[in-house]
Amino acid sequence: MARNVTTRHKISATVAAWIVALIIFFPILYTIITSIKTEPEAIAGFSLWPSGTFENYITVQTQRDYLKPFMNSVILSVGSTILALIIAIPSAWAMAFSPTKRTKDILMWMLSTKMMPAVAVLVPIYLLFRDFGLLDSRIGLTVMLTLINLPIVVWMLYTYFREIPGEILEAARMDGAGLWQEIVYVLTPMAVPGIASTLLLNIILAWNESFWTIRLSTTNAAPLTAFIASFSSPQGLFWAKLSAASTMAIAPILILGWFSQKQLVRGLTFGAVK
């Protein structure tokens, strides 16, 4: 009896779950479909069957120079992430393996900086950027994104590093490994999976950051967030092109995100939920 109930239960759960999933995914799906419609089709009423043109993608590139904000997004998100990792790895290592009484306080304090509302420092940051000539510069935005995400990077690395058993590092020490060798031969290989997921999640966060990237850039350093936001005024007639631009803006990160969903939970809850 129990087995029959299970199968029926599974089928009804499957149907329900797929309906929910498709509703939630629908706006993304519809954007992708619209991106391969012609402009008249795009506003011609609900239709899931596009004519399948790729012209919008070409137009977005030729008319709006899509590649430039795309490259900016890549440079900013990857650059800021690598910079954050370089700064954070030694810190997280020290906190995980040589904890002191204050380690916990330092970690909590780092987390608290993340809670400072961005608008609260908008004015001084804007003025500082203006005075130092950093407005609309890739360097300025990279530094900004690095600092914004640094606490999360330290935290994620810390939770990963803490899972490496201390006995293994002691074993390496007994085996004659110096600090440098300990890092190169033992710690790094064991930490690589954690570092990789930290990298992935941070690229996603940096790619989608939409306050500072929009406010501190205009044209030269503008990443995709600012590029897409600039589409907000012209309505109606450009939907297919907007969809094509949107699809290209979210596709790479969507795919990265699918790979990192497990680490996402851990990273965004600062290890509170695993």
């Binding site: 609260a120 989608n208 939409s210």
Partner: protein, 290 residues
Amino acid sequence: MATQNTKTLARLMMAPSVLLLLVWMIVPLAMTLWFSFQNYNLLDPSNVSFTGLFNYQFFYTDPAFFQSIWNTLVIVGGVLLITVIGGIAIALLLDQPIFGQGIVRILIISPFFVMPPVAALVWKNMIMNPSYGVFADISKFFGLRPIDWFAQYPLFSIVIIVAWQWLPFATLILLTALQSLDGEQKEAAEMDGANFLNRFIYLVVPHLARSITVVILIQTIFLLGVYAEILVTTNGGPGYASTNLAFLIYRTALLGYDVGGASAGGIIAVVLANIVAFFLMRAVGKNLDR
């Protein structure tokens, strides 16, 4: 001695990140606090003077201020309500055995990876547009008059968009928590004669309590600062109908060029965020002792 060296080295390794964050936190915040007591307008930068609490008073007496606080609370509260309840429901559903669970998970998590401007524009144009949007098409199909979402229900529209972005986050975290529930515990409860409802109330809800707290607190931090979604949809309007505190500060600072006023608003935002942060830190901090 050996470990003494290690300790010194550990401090050195921590120094860069600690110093950077310290500077990044203190310098701008101190400047904001300083500006908030100044009469400082970017259009007239030579004429800066001390005004005491005038900026706070100005901000406080501005009717837009209270509306923006209210709107902030509505956005935070509305999104939390939708995402937590929806998140629990969907997490419970996904915790069942399902065909194609991997794909379902991927579909449901996807909105979280969509950058806010894209999410807002897609909803604004493709879904909620009163003439050509999918909602309008559905209304027409049933012979109803389409709703002009952003004109009639600007705040609610923004809540829907933001909730769509955060629902995956809540779902994913609650699902993770749900899956960490000990299977033997469930079996023991079944042996003890607890039905599904009883198991949900006495086993699942207490188990999820901490994760729900974490979801609420983390989302609140982000929801207090909703910005891009407002910028590309309603631009805060009509009037101040969909202006939250973050957006009001941006308007005051970069559209009104009023550095002093915006800074006063910023300090108020810091105070608000700190109240939430206090509780979040306690929830996360407890976890550290484990």
